[in-house]
Symmetry: D2
Subunit: 426 residues, 4 copies
């Protein structure tokens, strides 16, 4: 099994209610979009909204209905080919880069498919809540949360290519708050002592992905961590100091990508005349100076840290700081969908707003072993070439967040809500 | 001006009626498609249905309303950027390969835009039918016809990438006829004498594109032309004889493309078990053996002719044969949308069914000069690297057809309804 | 046979002497180059000097020794794989783009191979001068001449990538002359009348390539042809007028290439400060203003002609003018290896200096049929996508030149000595 | 400074002798190669022999002569542009992928340059042996050793593209030994206990690169390490078991590369009929079954380990095992230049034969800071996307080896002598 779940109340009713609510949230996110919007695939890394809605449904069908319902007959046998993402053990798949070509099934067909599968799941749960099934339900719901986040990041990317700058959502009031003034905390450093610690998730946790475990020891040297995230105002100084023109600050690979793609600012910044704007899920808005910078690659984050004479934190350092704190912040449920400024005590905004790039490559923890079967393809096979990010973002469902949660992306990728916090040796 | 029109009855009423009818036909073609279908762009060569519907409208707006309506104010000023195809003199354009990213404007917005422009055109025509305007109206309607054809070829290509094999239309009855048996006429040759002839369109014609003129003399050596088009049955023999594996038959450039793209049969043929099928606008159907082969590149056509010890005809040879005949055949209005078998006397199927590759590169005729202004970008700037095809296809509006009509495509392209007829020196 | 030869004196002695002299000229051209120079392959279109020296030798071995010497045993059986250029019927080949990887055989090995084959050929000729063999000898020598030209154009390209600007040869005196002043004749037009003419080579000619025939009739409308070639001074005006920035002047394909490769001037022009230089086989030298412009693509030539309100001539037009003239001019044997200014009467410099782009795509003449066998792969299979150039250049052996000679290149290619002459309809 | 040197005897005489000997070894390696061989650049990752010989010389000139010789005048000022590898702070550079285009300077010019710089260095050392200069001399000599290795791996790659299979060297006797039989030790595992250890190089070491330090603590869980390297015989079993066809064994990125490049065996294996051969620096030889497998990517190594239910060791695990052992083995000085079988006690062949892929991404150690100045570009800027390999190979100079030495390559690269050893959790 790829994840461990340890749920106190796993009565059928509770589970059905949670399942229903989680599934509804996907529909809520899709609600303002047109059929044409939901068809868009703007790059191979991104998927159409319609595909997300279908694929998460397929996941429940394949990993729960198929093994647990006797003589299960799919209402849509062709969908296994269309909506398998990457599970080699589940057979051939529609090519990833061609997901945007599927005008059929229509969005109505996909909504119908969701209802069929949801009904079947709910019916199944009234008769069977064995541990394995409950664990797979948790996995399915966590998987749905991941796609709820991707749905938002992918539609933002697709809309960013439309010269009309369409606004997918309308959360202007949330953004209006953001003009509140605060002092930059991105260079106030808080010290942590060296020590041998345990990291990763333990079996008694409610739920975690396989790559978060096993719990293991690691030694961490003393370090300091910035109180605040690097802000848009900070980033403007980097631009003005010629940060995008100075190869000495950059990793060699990063400099290559930056030149080839002509990076001059974060992915969604636009300059009209002398004024900077940012394209958001709420449309094109003036840049919020004291909000965390977002949509930067690892290479840019690392170059910024070099420029400041600092470095990015490791994932262990982040986890040490974060596990002291309660999980709250600007997550998806606030429906602001844009990083916001913050003020407060201690290390701030560890959770929510933007995923924080760490300098830790995404590798297996000591003792890690991918689970058997198709479900074991979930995480392990991506453990090369990517970096860990921590803490979730303004489009992450809060229920998904844990201090041990590891997400991972390639260092050139920018379309997620990615930001950074500085660290130093001491 | 890029075209000359010489219309007998150009009363306002007649013109408005023709305009209305032509514009309606685009809507008729789009009618069975969903909003998602109309969003699809399957390759840079193809465009979304929605884009075709908007671009043809933009054409009337830019080339007629803008110059002829005083103080013209566009109802959609942003559409000039979005729906300009390639007119450098009309300003910056949305990148061609990104047309499929425009989920906004929605199809409803585009239909509204069509109505706005159509009303304005009709109103204009009630007050002004000067020669120049009438000529531009002819150009606009001919341009619309070209996009009515492209709309069909492009949706066919997009649907061909969908593993569900959706049928855009439903003309099965037309196809059922096709099993009628006939003797292959693709190797029965009809002789033509050598002589000095005039070619190209003359000013007294109703309408022609600039590239069809001026009328000019050319000497044609004696030749023979096949009575029938090469059929699917003929092509199967080429496949079975190893035609796709024998480089000696192929042009060097063609062999390169065929290897790189792994060509083994025409673009839309599919083999399931031992049976050949063809994907059509009416879905996946068994291959009609005595129908003309379609969706082959120039390189394949040329290799086939080599294999037969023949050659492709020149465009002059085709024109000599075709101008003796009345224009009729399997055109768009029949709504079969698939090439059909035929029997008859003389050189058959010169018009309709499939465009016929000629061995003539698309070059300017002696004395050709592109017109001044943006409208002059229509044809001349494409006069390199492409070959002329003649005769129209089962998705070409018949009104557009003339014995002088030249269409042109790159020799590697296959997504149009392209076939071939053999010729020989004698 | 791919060519027809009609030689008056084909005694063995004469033929051996001509063969020896032709083969020696290749060695003379290679003489100033180091082993390292002769290894260079700067792009797939170009080949190393060493490869040219070996391939021309292979040609004599394959097409003469192998069929005419009984039980022929190659001294270097592996060379058939290494030095076959593109003859599918001669078996598998070393990939073209990898020719620069052949450090072995060494240049000494190749020289030895040349001697072995030359001896065998000379010995064969003392015993056999049948017509077919004599024709193939002519073909082999003409093939060697083509590679003598390519050897020079290819080493020029390779050296152009070396920031040290090495001079392959030393013909400065020839270049010093070039400062002689003359009035530009590139816009003085000489008229020609319309008429039905015969074109192409006839069997009684000494030698011609298959693609030059058969002799055939064609009608040519009246036209005018410029007295002089377009010069470097003329081209500077095109640059200064923004010719490289104005898409309206360009063919659509040409504009695409020009943007992608950032063309701002002819291939070998370099600007240091305010001064223009040209990289030549004699090193980097100041631009000779009244010399013909060279190393421009078809797309640039066509854009220039558009800018002038003119057009490029057809190959028939060029041939009509050229067949009135004796063949002389700045050819390879002068060892200047750079286009030179000229003054004189009538249409000047039709022969030598630079190949002249024509607007004629390279297509088969009426009645053309590629010969049987491997030798038939010489020309026919390249008859798509290329344009005809006429007249030879300063690196073409004069013996190779005829008024019917057609060379051909892709419209984006620039590394040959390519220039242009204007024409107009009248 | 990028490295720390702590030399007991740094008298001028000793240093000059060591310098002379190190520089001579480069010439010895180049001795059997022709001028043409030394010109070859077979891919952007590799460099010509001539370039290696010049670049190592440039390194001494730039980092020692320029700062330490008053009013230093370079004998070859243009060489700074030509032979700078990647030091942004040393100015513009010749593009890496174009190194093979430099036929000039000739190899004779480069040898002369080497002599000029060597003389100047030796003269300088007679007057100045300050600590900084001595440290830079160590760095220069270690840098030369790295290029002595690359020279061999690069010429092997270049020769592998030549269908004549040339042998660069002649060490057949060494290879003959290799048929000695031994029992595979690649699956005999030796246990190591968990513990907190210190890793990395300490200042008192003779010499180390910046990336080997600083010395730091890390906790290592208990593990086992295979006694022997995976052999060619082992790898044949992987091939026969369909390892290259089973995506479930592979990292997702690795599977993508393997499919795209059609990997079916290690880089230099060739199958003729039923027999496997390996292309080596001694030419094409039958595969030595009990020798370590070599020239495999990280992706292949990882897939093999998956297939065995094992994993690759971390670099800490390797270092723990290796620092117990004396440094000896099959290194460059033996001039076998091919991995060899071995028998013995304990963990074998940790040093020499093949570099061992570890599962550790190449990242900075805790507390690492790149040195100031151009010399600081040596290691830090490559710390993304690559993996650490340990232990040196049959083409590594033994003097360069240390238990802390980290080399690094991208996971798709195969042209170094790369092999693997299995590890397991326990």
């Amino acid at each position: 099994m790829i994840a461990t779940a340890h749920i106190v109340d796993n009565s059928a009713d509770t589970l059905i209610a949670r399942f229903h609510s989680r599934r509804q949230y996907s529909l809520l996110l899709a609600e303002p979009l047109t059929a044409e919007d939901m068809q868009l695939q703007s790059m191979p890394d991104a998927s159409p909204t319609k595909w997300h809605l279908a694929h998460t449904t397929w996941f429940f069908e394949q990993f729960i209905l198929l093994p647990f319902v006797e003589d299960y007959q799919s209402p849509q046998p062709q969908f296994n080919y269309l909506f398998n993402s990457y599970y080699e053990q589940k057979g051939e798949r529609h090519p990833r880069a061609q997901r945007g070509m599927l005008s059929r099934p229509t969005i109505e067909d996909v909504y119908a498919y969701r209802q069929q599968i949801d009904s079947a799941i709910e019916q199944l749960l009234t008769t069977n809540t064995c541990d394995e099934l409950v664990s797979l339900m948790e996995l399915g719901m966590n998987h749905e949360m991941q796609h709820q986040e991707l749905l938002l990041t992918d539609i933002l990317h697709a809309f960013s290519l439309n010269p009309l700058y369409p606004a997918a959502y309308n959360a202007k009031s949330g953004i209006a708050e953001s003009s509140a003034d605060n002092v930059s905390a991105s260079e106030q450093f808080i010290p942590f002592e060296a020590g041998l610690h345990e990291f990763g998730a333990a079996p008694q946790a409610d739920f975690y992905f396989d790559c978060e475990g096993p719990k293991h020891k690691a030694y961490v040297s003393s370090f300091t961590l910035a109180k605040g995230l690097v802000t848009n105002a900070d980033w403007l100084l980097f631009i003005e100091a010629g940060g995008y023109q100075n190869p000495v600050l950059w990793l060699a690979d990063g400099w290559g990508v930056a030149q080839q793609q002509d990076w001059q600012c974060p992915l969604y910044w636009r300059k009209h005349g002398d004024t900077w704007y940012q394209f958001t899920l709420n449309g094109l808005v003036p840049l919020t100076l004291n909000a965390p910078v977002s949509h930067i690659s690892y290479y840019e984050a690392d170059a910024y840290a070099q420029w400041k004479g600092c470095r990015l934190p490791t994932e262990y350092e982040w986890e040490l700081a974060a596990r002291e704190q309660a999980i709250s912040g600007n997550f998806s449920e606030k429906q602001i969908f844009t990083p916001m400024p913050d003020v407060g005590e201690g290390v701030m905004q560890l959770y929510g707003d933007v995923w924080e790039w760490t300098r830790s490559p995404y590798t297996p923890y000591p003792g890690y072993k991918a689970p058997e079967g198709a479900v074991g393809e979930y995480n392990g096979k991506f453990m090369s070439g990517q970096y860990v990010l921590r803490g979730g973002s303004c489009v992450t469902p809060i229920e998904q967040m844990r201090s041990t949660y590891r997400t991972f992306f390639y260092p050139h990728q920018r379309w997620q809500f990615m930001g950074l916090r500085l660290a130093k040796d001491c």
